[in-house]
C-alpha cells in the first residue's frame, strides 16, 4: 500500500487515473481501426446512391441485399 502511494506521488498520477487515460486512448484507437471495417459492412447492405452521396454513416440506409446476392 505504501509503495502504491509513493509511485503515485512520483508520476503525479495515481494508478487509477493512468488506467483511465490508457483506456480512453485505446478506445480511440479501437474506434479508428474498427470504423472503416464497420463502414464497409454497412455500405455493402445500403443503397449505393446513398453511399456515393455520403449519407451512410452509422446505420445502413435503405437496407438491401442486392450488393451481396
Amino acid at each position: 500500500m505504501k509503495a502504491n502511494t509513493k509511485s503515485g506521488k512520483l508520476t503525479g498520477l495515481s494508478e487509477k487515473s493512468s488506467d483511465i487515460i490508457l483506456v480512453v486512448i485505446c478506445t480511440i484507437i479501437l474506434f479508428i481501426v474498427a470504423y472503416p471495417l464497420y463502414y464497409v459492412l454497412i455500405a455493402s447492405v445500403s443503397n449505393p446512391y446513398d453511399v456515393y452521396a455520403g449519407k451512410t454513416f452509422l446505420l445502413p440506409s435503405q437496407f438491401t441485399l442486392d450488393g451481396i446476392t
Binding site: L10, V23, I29, P36, V40, G54
Partner: protein
C-alpha cells in the same frame, strides 16, 4: 526411464568432433531433413536466376535466353538516361523511408501501451480488432481508400467540409499510402512485441514498484531494454524490403495526376516488361533495384550488428 537411458547412451555427436564423413553418417537424419529446404531453394530460387542474363542481352523470344545477342550494359545506361529516372529513384526511396519512419515506432508504442492495460477482456478485444485489417486484401483496401477519399460524399471530405480529390493530388499520395499501410499492419506488428513483453519476469516490475519507479520509468527501464533485440531484428527485416515498395498498392492508387510522387521502380518494371513487352529492359531495371536493395540490407545489418551483437546475420 529406459528411453532417457538410451538417449544418454547414444549422444548426438558434437559439431567439430570427428571427420566430416563420420559427422554426416552420425546425423544423417538431420541432414536429410535439411536437404528438403535446400533443394527447394535451389530449384525455385537459384536455377530461375539464369534468366537474369537477358538483362545483358537483346532478348528475342524466337532465339531464346541463350541465343539472344549480348548487348552489355546498354539497358542499364538507357535506364539511367530515362527522363523519369531521378523521379523514380526519389519516389521509391522516400516512400519506403517514410513508411519505415512512421510505421516502425507505432507498433512498439501500441504494444507498450496495451501491455499496461489491466482489463484482460478489453485488452484481448482491442488486440483482435487491431489485427483484423491485416487479413483484408490490398485490392479491397484500395477500394476502401477510394470510397473514403471520394470528392463527392467521401468521409474525409465530409468531415473537413471540402471536396478535394485526394487521389489526384500528388502531395497527398505518400500520406495516403503510409497512413493506410499503418492502419492495416500496425496491429499485426504488435503481436511479436506483445509476446516478448508478456515473457518479462513480473518480479522486475514488483521490484521497480517498491523502489518507487513510476509507470514511465518502468516502461523506460524494463520494457524498452527487453524489446531492443526484437526491435533491431524487425528493423533488419524491413530494411530487406526497403526498395520493394508494394507494387500492387502503388499501382492501384496511381492516377495520371499523382504520378509526380507515385511513380516507383516496381510499377515501371511492370509497365515496361508486361505492358510494353520490353523484357530485357525491365529485367535490367529490376536487377538494378535488387542490387541496391542488397547493398542497403547489408549496410543496415552492419549498423545493427554494432548496436546489439546477437542479432546480426551476415
Amino acid at each position: 526411464m529406459s528411453r532417457s537411458k538410451t538417449a544418454a547412451a547414444r549422444p548426438v555427436s558434437q559439431p567439430g568432433g570427428g571427420s566430416l564423413k563420420k559427422r554426416l553418417l552420425d546425423n544423417w537424419q538431420l541432414y536429410a531433413m535439411l536437404l528438403v529446404p535446400v533443394v527447394l531453394t535451389i530449384i525455385y530460387k537459384y536455377i530461375p536466376m539464369y534468366g537474369i542474363q537477358i538483362a545483358f542481352r537483346d532478348y528475342k523470344a524466337s532465339r531464346g535466353f541463350m541465343g539472344s545477342e549480348w548487348v552489355g550494359l546498354e539497358w542499364f545506361s538507357r535506364f539511367f538516361s530515362a527522363p523519369t529516372f531521378g523521379r523514380m529513384i526519389k519516389n521509391t526511396v522516400l516512400l519506403s523511408f517514410y513508411s519505415l519512419l512512421w510505421g516502425f515506432p507505432i507498433p512498439i508504442i501500441l504494444a507498450l501501451m496495451m501491455n499496461q492495460l489491466r482489463f484482460q477482456k478489453f485488452k484481448r478485444v482491442t488486440q483482435t480488432v487491431l489485427y483484423a485489417p491485416h487479413f483484408i486484401s490490398t485490392m479491397v483496401i484500395c477500394g476502401m481508400i477510394r470510397i473514403f477519399l471520394s470528392p463527392s460524399g467521401g468521409l474525409i471530405n465530409l468531415i473537413a467540409g471540402t471536396s478535394v480529390d485526394f487521389l489526384t493530388e500528388s502531395g497527398a499520395f505518400r500520406t495516403i499510402y503510409i497512413a493506410s499501410g499503418i492502419w492495416q499492419d500496425a496491429g499485426w506488428g504488435i503481436i511479436v512485441y506483445m509476446a516478448t513483453l508478456s515473457n518479462i519476469d513480473t518480479s522486475l516490475y514488483e521490484a521497480a514498484k517498491v523502489d518507487g519507479a513510476s509507470l514511465f520509468q518502468r516502461i523506460l527501464h524494463i520494457d524498452i531494454p527487453e524489446l531492443t533485440s526484437i526491435m533491431v531484428l524487425n528493423l533488419i527485416m524491413s530494411a530487406g524490403g526497403l526498395m520493394n515498395v508494394g507494387f500492387e498498392k502503388v499501382w492501384l492508387l496511381q492516377t495520371d495526376l499523382n504520378k509526380a510522387t507515385s511513380d516507383v521502380i516496381a510499377v515501371y518494371v511492370y509497365q515496361q516488361g508486361i505492358e510494353n513487352a520490353k523484357y530485357s529492359y525491365s529485367t535490367a531495371v529490376g536487377l538494378f533495384n535488387t542490387v541496391i536493395n542488397i547493398i542497403l540490407l547489408i549496410a543496415v545489418n552492419k549498423i545493427a550488428g554494432r548496436i546489439s551483437e546477437d542479432t546480426s546475420f551476415i
